[in-house]
Each structure stands twice: as structure tokens, then as C-alpha cells.
């Protein structure tokens, strides 16, 4: 199968990585873009797992997949390459698919530097190429999407016949096209919303995502779909009317509750289930297509939070606004605290009084005993710089533990919302899918961060792994981040989207 997504099989020894990566990038910078459909196998993966600077044994990992995007703004224009890489156990990174060199393209702005500045890899989805991504629950199949239909570059660089949704094994074998790419962009204009994940069903047979399909009057609108990763059969589950907001009227597809039930959210009013138009969590039955609105739980301050029922998810943890004035007003004007619920019982887990507690997606541990989240609080006087750290908390609200020890010479005013220059602080995030940030067997927690625990991530983002007790921190990626060269060219390399397995 000829693909712009060139399947390669490069496994590099870890010691080789830095030099290989440097050589690769130099070759990309010299190459001409659109015509190059040749797999640059010699480039291999430039990612690497950096050992911690302590004597700790690194937290074990099973199978980690990520997109590595490297771009360059120079006088010649914008150029880019992307690779889909897999780390398995202690092996070095394996590049299993690649989009060869794009550019140099004449574009109106310095996209590479501008989008790398916030140090948030999902922004690179706007370039096009590799988009949605997911690892199956037992880490045997990777599903990924390739399209440039919504690229901000304004030029197509992926041949039409090579756009699509593909499946591949983590060892790089078994590449198969499952169908056309979604007609819903993975990241919306204005970057207000991104959907960088497919969501696997518990059996690994189906993935959910959003795509365009006919609404109740036959008009095109964003809908929830499932795709059978064995047969490629695509099934439209909803028939929503066109919405004003991007995506699924501001929401999107989410994880499966169980093999038959997909969760999605938004403010629409399917079948009259949400007449007041509040943001709700819905479920749709894969077989009957019946839509249900999930229960809501009252939270302090008079608000309600919609949560899936106890079946499937068990419990969910989420940040919610509570009354009060935050102690760190610079990061936001409202106090956010972490809550956990099973659909009936609701418990506030934190009481930091800060505005930036868990701005991303927190999750409940595999064993249900803890919740993991990010915050810039300093409950144990171990975070004087108020950087965005990973915390765990007992699911019953006690035993708050700071797992990471990121440090900086100066205090971060923006804490966990420091998307910007390194001098403003750094951010830490889990995967947008609550399920894939923890290894179901070892308990290893995987996350992305622009913090710099090893002095190798001064202006970028890396994906890290850490044990749930806070030991064994190590980097799974070795992206260069944002680099401004003396010739005024700008280079950036960021990892993401990413996924991990096993997660069930």
C-alpha cells in the first residue's frame, strides 16, 4: 500500500538518538516538500526516554504512541515533518508511520514559532497531517487519522487517496485503511476546542469520534459516529441539527461507558431531553441509537454537574467552580476545586482556594482509590515556585500528595495556566481521555509537561512517566521544543497527540 503515511520500521538505540535527530532535522530543512513521498527511514525517531537524574529505577512503561511534529520557519518559508512513534517497554522509539517533508511553503505568518510558543502540542493539529489518535485498551492496535483538509497552511500536502483513518499494530505491521477521515476538524478555528483522540470501546472493537452526517432534516451537521476497527464499518449514532458552536455544539464524543454506550456532551436538545439548553452529558446506545441524558449532581454555589451513571465509568473526577476569591488571582478570578462523584455521591477532594486547580482532565486511578490531577498549590511546602505539579489525592479526600518536584528559580504567577513563555512558568496535562493516562497493569502515570525536571526541556513539551507514588520520573520523548536560531529562523519540535496502553 503506497502511502504518504510511509510505514517505516526504525528502531534506534537510545544512545543514537540525539545525533540521529539532529541529522534528520538538518536533512528535512534542506529537502523540498511536496514531491517528497519517500520515507526517510534513516531519520528514524528522535524521541528518547531520558533517564532520571537520580538512582531511581524509571517507572515501567508498556506501549506509548505519539506524533512527533517538527517544523521550521525560515526565509524559505514554512516546512514540517511528522512521525508516528511507538515506545514499548525498554526499547528505543520505533517510527511506524511518517509524513515526509512538507514545504518550504510560503505562508503569511510564522506558524511554527507562533503555535509552538504556548508549548501545547495540540495546537500543531492545525497544521494537518496526523490528527486523531488512540491506542486500543490492551495495546494491540493503534488507530490514527491523516488529513490536511483543515490545515491552516492553506495547501494540500497529503494526496486525497492517502487521507483516511488507519489501523496499525504497535510493531508497525498490519497497516490498513479503515475509511475516510472525519469531516470535523480535530482542532477548531480559534483553537477553542480540540478532539485529538479516538475513544476505544472496552473490547477494542469500536472507536467513537465526531463526523459530519445528516441531521433530522437531512442537513449536514456534526454527529457521533463509531467505526469498527476490524471491518471499517462506520455507523452514525446521532441525528443532531446543525449547531452554532464548533464540534458537537461545543462538545464532542467521549469514552465508552460500556461496549454499547458512547458518552458525548454538549448543549443541544436531542429528543427534548435538554430543553433548557444547559451543557449536559448524554449517552447513546450503539445498537438502538437511543439517547439518554445523564444525571446531574448539585455542587456548591448552586451549579450542577452532569455525570455519567455509575455503570461503566464508576466514578469521575472533575474540577468545578466554587464560591470564593482565589489566592492566585493572576491565574483566574474564580476558585476551582477538584470533585469526585459516582453519579449520586459528590465529594470535594481539594480545598486549595486557587484558580488553576486541574484546568485539564483529571482521572480516577485504575483501582479507584485515588484521583490524579494537576495544581500549583503548595500544601506541603514542596512547591514554593507554585509550578504546575502532579498531585494524587485519596478518593475520599485525604492524603493529598505532590508527586512531581518541578522547580524554578522564580515563582510562577500563572501556575497551571502558564501557556506561554518559559519565564511565566510551565504547565502539566494528562491525556484528554481519562482512561489512557495510567497503565492498567503497573499503575504508571503518563502525562505531558512543559516543566523541565532534567534541564532538557527548556522551551518545549515532553511526555513523562512516573509511578503513582511519585518515584521513577523519566521522559518518554526528547522533542527539541522551540529554538530560535541566530539566522532568525525558528525551529520547533513537540510531541502530541499521544496515547498509551494497556489502559483497561
Amino acid at each position: 500500500m503506497e502511502l504518504v503515511v510511509a510505514v517505516v520500521n526504525d528502531r534506534l538505540k537510545r544512545d543514537d538518538v540525539p545525533m540521529k535527530a539532529k541529522m534528520c532535522y538538518q536533512s528535512l530543512a534542506r529537502a523540498s516538500a511536496m514531491a517528497v513521498l519517500v520515507a526517510l527511514a534513516a531519520c528514524g525517531g528522535s524521541g528518547s526516554s531520558i533517564p532520571p537524574n537520580t538512582n531511581e529505577v524509571p517507572a515501567p512503561i508498556n506501549t506509548f504512541v505519539y506524533v512527533d511534529t517538527a517544523c521550521r520557519d525560515s526565509a524559505d518559508g514554512f516546512s514540517m515533518t511528522q512521525e508516528l512513534r511507538v515506545l514499548r517497554g525498554e526499547n528505543g522509539p520505533l517510527t511506524i508511520a511518517r509524513i515526509p517533508m512538507v514545504g518550504p511553503l510560503q505562508v503569511p505568518v510564522t506558524y511554527c514559532g507562533d503555535l509552538a510558543l504556548p508549548r501545547s502540542a495540540p495546537l500543531f493539529l492545525a497544521f494537518g497531517g496526523f490528527q486523531r489518535l488512540a491506542m486500543s485498551p490492551v495495546a494491540t492496535v493503534i488507530v490514527f487519522e491523516v488529513t490536511d483538509d483543515f490545515s491552516i497552511l492553506g495547501q494540500s500536502f497529503v494526496p486525497a487517496e492517502q487521507k483516511g483513518i488507519f489501523r496499525i499494530r504497535p510493531d508497525g505491521s498490519g497497516l490498513r485503511r479503515l475509511g475516510n477521515p472525519s469531516r470535523v476538524p480535530a482542532i477548531s478555528t480559534g483553537f477553542g476546542r480540540s478532539e485529538s483522540n479516538f475513544y476505544f470501546s472496552p473490547s477494542g472493537r469500536l472507536v467513537s469520534f465526531t463526523d459530519i452526517g445528516p441531521g433530522p432534516g437531512g442537513e449536514d451537521a456534526v454527529q457521533v459516529f463509531v467505526l469498527d476497527v476490524e471491518t471499517g464499518k462506520r455507523t452514525q449514532l446521532t441525528h443532531m441539527p446543525p449547531a452554532a458552536r464548533p464540534g458537537l455544539d461545543g462538545g464532542g464524543a467521549d469514552d465508552f461507558l460500556n461496549e454499547r454506550t458512547v458518552v458525548f456532551d454538549g448543549i443541544f436538545n436531542p429528543d427534548g431531553l435538554n430543553p433548557d439548553g444547559k451543557e449536559r452529558v448524554f449517552t447513546v446506545d450503539v445498537v438502538t441509537r437511543q439517547i439518554k441524558v445523564e444525571s446531574t449532581v448539585a455542587i456548591p454555589g448552586g451549579g450542577f454537574v452532569a455525570v455519567p451513571s455509575i455503570t461503566g465509568f464508576g466514578r469521575v473526577t472533575f474540577p468545578a467552580m466554587v464560591p470564593g476569591t482565589p489566592v492566585n488571582k493572576q491565574a483566574g478570578e474564580n476558585v476551582f476545586e477538584l470533585f469526585i462523584t459516582d453519579g449520586t455521591n459528590l465529594l470535594q477532594l481539594t480545598n486549595f482556594g486557587r484558580s488553576d486547580t486541574s484546568p485539564g482532565v483529571p482521572f480516577v486511578s485504575i483501582d479507584g482509590a485515588h484521583a490524579f490531577f494537576v495544581a500549583s498549590a503548595d500544601p506541603d511546602q514542596m512547591n514554593p515556585s507554585e509550578l504546575c505539579q502532579i498531585f494524587s489525592v485519596d478518593a475520599l479526600g485525604g492524603d493529598v500528595r505532590q508527586l512531581t518536584r518541578f522547580s524554578a528559580s522564580q515563582r510562577s504567577a500563572l501556575g497551571c495556566v502558564a501557556f506561554g513563555r518559559a519565564s511565566e512558568g510551565c504547565t502539566t496535562e494528562f491525556n484528554d481521555s481519562q482512561r489512557v493516562s495510567q497503565d492498567a497493569r503497573s499503575g504508571t502515570v503518563v502525562f505531558g509537561s512543559s516543566c523541565d525536571p532534567f534541564g532538557t526541556n527548556q522551551n518545549g513539551v515532553q511526555i513523562f512517566a512516573i509511578r503513582p507514588d511519585g518515584s521513577g520520573l523519566h521522559a518518554l520523548t526528547d522533542a527539541r521544543g522551540l529554538v530560535r536560531n541566530t539566522d532568525r529562523s525558528v525551529e520547533a519540535e513537540l510531541p502530541g497527540p499521544w496515547s498509551y496502553g494497556p489502559h483497561r
Binding site: R315, N345, L346, A395, G398
Partner: protein, 417 residues
């Protein structure tokens, strides 16, 4: 010597079973079950619901089963052309011996056992205390509208410390009939009638003092509503009773060899799920019980016995168990016989599991018991017996002791007189 024939018409013998069937139907109209007690409104939210099905799956299998071997046996004397009662030791009360009753002979018995469970996995059923939490879950008490904890966090539930007193009792009356089809082949039918009783008392302390993170602010002047400050204690009690038949048990025994050098018999039992497991009166499944029975009468005074068998759960073989018994009976004085038998049941796997075992878990259990009893012969072929089973270990659901009394009478069928 010709033994006086004590006959009972077959229609009377059958009447025991027919009456049993009628009563069994009447027990099925009982609305609600004992297992439902744990889901009653008074106990709602205490995570006791799974206990009902767990008990239903385990209680009945722990009930004692009286021996199918007739205490009195007959042998045909070709010289006198009559059946003569054997004047050796009486049979065991619990456990089996290889001897058969004799062709055309009938033995009818009724026994009563009183079962009062006292421990589960060694813990007293009289004071079961819930686990503070299991994987982040607690036994919770809802607080509509929510409450602010002492440390300033909000919650709409509070964890509960539960002290539960679970009283499970069963009075078991078992009519049984044994018939000698051939000199070497016995058939036994038993159908227990049970009255089961469940009484659950709970004391709740809200919030659970073992979880200090849920501590409430101190109450001021006693004006605050319960469960919004300080600590609250709540008591509940729910009880129910049920009457019905247990599992119908058909047992066959065939003597393979006699006195060479021991008596050896093969047994086969089939248990029919006629008892309602949710009322703790039956196992809820068919069970097949092949068994090897070895015994030997020594000096007409002692009779050691060894039983080795498997209780095969026909619905789920994984839930089967290995059963054994070893012991002896001995003539003590005159018509008095003593029986002492060690009993064992070794389960292949747990009979069930509780997903959130706040109070106890059902494990794979090994049951070891000691049975001791006395039998006394009266009116030539009548036997009264008294027995007690005491546990030798505390695996699973156990009593402190199980008393059993019984009376049986053997006679020659009318077709042999």
C-alpha cells in the same frame, strides 16, 4: 429366630414424600425472601445488599445431612428363610457405612437439627464491622443539599461506621426413608423441612470516626440538624422468617464387596434444587454426589468407617467440593452405641464472591468438623439418637455447634412378610 415383622404399607411411606411435595408448593407462595431483608429500606445504603445472595449461595450447603445408612440391618438366613436383624453396632448418625439394610427392608426416620450461625471466616456474626473504605468507596449516608466538613470541603454524603448483628438460624426437620432393593442395593430419599430465620440489627455512626477527613464541625448549642455537625448514632432492626422445603436428596448405595477384608460400597447422591436458596433453604442447583464408602465391623463391637466423595455442582462444576469422613461407631453398653466421626469438605473454589465486601468476603473454604453422638436401640428395631457437630476450624459460615436428634424405625416391607 424369626423376627417380628413391623410393616408399613407402601402408601404410607409414599405419603411422607407426597405431603412434602404439597407443602413445598405452599412455601413457594411466600412473598419476599430472607435475602431481600438486606435490601429493605431500613438497611438501604449500608452496602449489605450483596450479603443476601452470598448467604443464599452458601448457607444451605453447610446444613448437616443425616446418614442414609439404616441403624438396623437385616440379613436373610436361608436356613430359616427369614430376615434376621443383625445385632451388631448401630450405624453412624453422620457419615455412611457400607452395610445395606437388606432386601425388602424399610427404614423410616425423622431427624431435627438446630443451626444457629455464629461466625463468618472466624469473625462473629454478632458484631460485624464494615471496612472503612474499599478502593475509595464507603458505606455512605446521603446528606441532601450537602454539608461542609470541618476542613471546609463540601460533600453530599458521609461515610458510616456500621456495627451489624446478623442472626441466621435454621430449624431443620428431615423425614427420610431407606429401602433395600436388593441385599446389596439401598435407595434413600430425604426431604428436609426448614424454618429459617434472619434478624439483622445495625448501629450506624455518622460520620465514620475512622475517616477523620469527614469530621463535621462541632455542634453549637445543639441547634444544628443531625448529620450536619458532630456525630450521629442510628439503630435499625429488620427480621423475617420463612418456612419451606429444602433440597430433595436421593441417595443410592451399592455394596461392591463384603469382608474382603473390608466392606466396600459405592454411593451416589443426587440433590434436587427444591429448596429456595433466597430463603436459605436450598443450594439452588443440582448436585451429584458420587462416594466411596469403606467400613468394617470388628468383633461385633466397633465399626470404623471412611467416606471419600465429590459433591459435583451440575450447574457449575467449578463450584464443586471434595467431601470426606473418617471415624467409628462402637457399642458402649447394652443397646447404646456411640459414634465419633471427623468430617471434611474442601471446596474447589469460592461458592460466590461479593464485589464490594464491606462486611465479609466469601472465600474458598475448608470445613472441618467433629461429630459425636449416641444411639439407643428400643423396641427391637427402633433407634433414637442424639448428636452434636462442633467445628474444628472457622473457615466460612459456621455455627458453634449443631445439635441433631433423631428417631428411626426399621421394618420389613409387606411383600417380604
Amino acid at each position: 429366630m424369626k423376627v417380628r415383622s413391623h410393616t408399613l404399607s407402601p402408601s404410607v411411606a409414599c405419603g411422607v414424600v407426597i405431603t412434602s411435595a404439597v407443602l413445598m408448593l405452599s412455601s413457594q407462595v411466600h412473598a419476599g425472601t430472607l435475602a431481600d431483608v438486606f435490601n429493605s429500606g431500613e438497611l438501604a445504603g449500608l452496602e449489605m445488599g450483596p450479603i443476601g445472595p452470598a448467604l443464599a449461595n452458601t448457607v444451605a450447603s453447610t446444613y448437616p445431612v443425616a446418614s442414609a445408612s439404616s441403624s438396623v440391618t437385616y440379613a436373610f438366613n436361608p436356613k430359616t428363610e427369614t430376615f434376621e436383624r443383625q445385632t451388631r453396632v448401630l450405624g453412624p448418625i453422620i457419615g455412611e457405612r457400607a452395610e445395606t439394610i437388606g432386601k425388602g427392608q424399610i427404614d423410616i426416620s425423622v431427624s431435627y437439627s438446630g443451626v444457629d450461625f455464629s461466625t463468618i471466616n472466624g469473625n462473629s456474626l454478632g458484631d460485624l464491622v464494615n471496612q472503612p473504605s474499599i478502593n475509595g468507596r464507603v458505606v455512605s449516608f446521603p446528606v441532601p443539599g450537602g454539608v461542609v466538613l470541618k476542613d471546609g470541603r463540601f460533600t453530599n454524603f458521609l461515610p458510616v461506621l456500621v456495627h451489624a448483628n446478623i442472626d441466621v438460624q435454621a430449624d431443620i426437620g428431615t423425614p427420610s426413608i431407606t429401602y433395600g432393593v436388593t441385599p446389596d442395593f439401598d435407595v434413600n430419599l430425604s426431604l428436609p423441612l426448614l424454618q429459617t430465620y434472619l434478624n439483622v440489627k445495625v448501629n450506624e455512626t455518622v460520620p465514620d470516626p475512622r475517616l477523620p477527613q469527614f469530621m463535621l464541625p462541632a455542634c453549637m448549642n445543639g441547634s444544628a440538624a443531625p448529620t450536619t455537625c458532630g456525630s450521629t448514632s442510628i439503630n435499625h432492626q429488620v427480621a423475617d422468617r420463612a418456612t419451606g422445603f429444602g433440597d430433595l436428596l436421593l441417595r443410592l448405595k451399592y455394596v461392591l464387596q463384603r469382608d474382603t477384608p473390608v466392606d466396600l460400597a459405592a454411593g451416589l447422591g443426587v440433590s434436587f434444587p427444591s429448596g429456595n436458596p433466597d430463603n436459605f433453604q436450598g443450594t439452588g442447583n443440582y448436585q451429584v454426589q458420587p462416594e466411596l464408602i469403606v467400613s468394617k465391623i470388628i468383633a461385633d463391637r466397633f465399626e470404623p468407617l471412611l467416606n471419600l466423595g465429590v459433591n459435583i455442582n451440575a450447574d457449575n462444576v467449578d463450584l464443586s467440593s471434595f467431601r470426606w469422613a473418617v471415624g467409628s461407631t462402637a457399642k458402649v453398653y447394652g443397646p447404646l452405641t456411640a459414634a465419633a466421626v471427623f468430617l471434611g469438605t474442601n471446596e474447589f473454589n469460592p461458592q460466590t464472591t461479593i464485589s464490594a465486601p464491606f462486611f465479609f468476603q466469601i472465600n474458598r473454604n475448608d470445613y472441618y468438623n467433629f461429630s459425636f453422638g449416641m444411639r439407643c436401640l428400643f423396641a427391637e428395631t427402633g433407634v433414637v439418637s442424639a448428636n452434636v457437630i462442633v467445628p474444628l476450624n472457622r473457615d466460612g459460615l459456621r455455627t458453634d455447634y449443631i445439635p441433631t436428634i433423631g428417631i428411626e424405625y426399621a421394618f420389613t416391607g409387606p411383600w417380604n412378610s
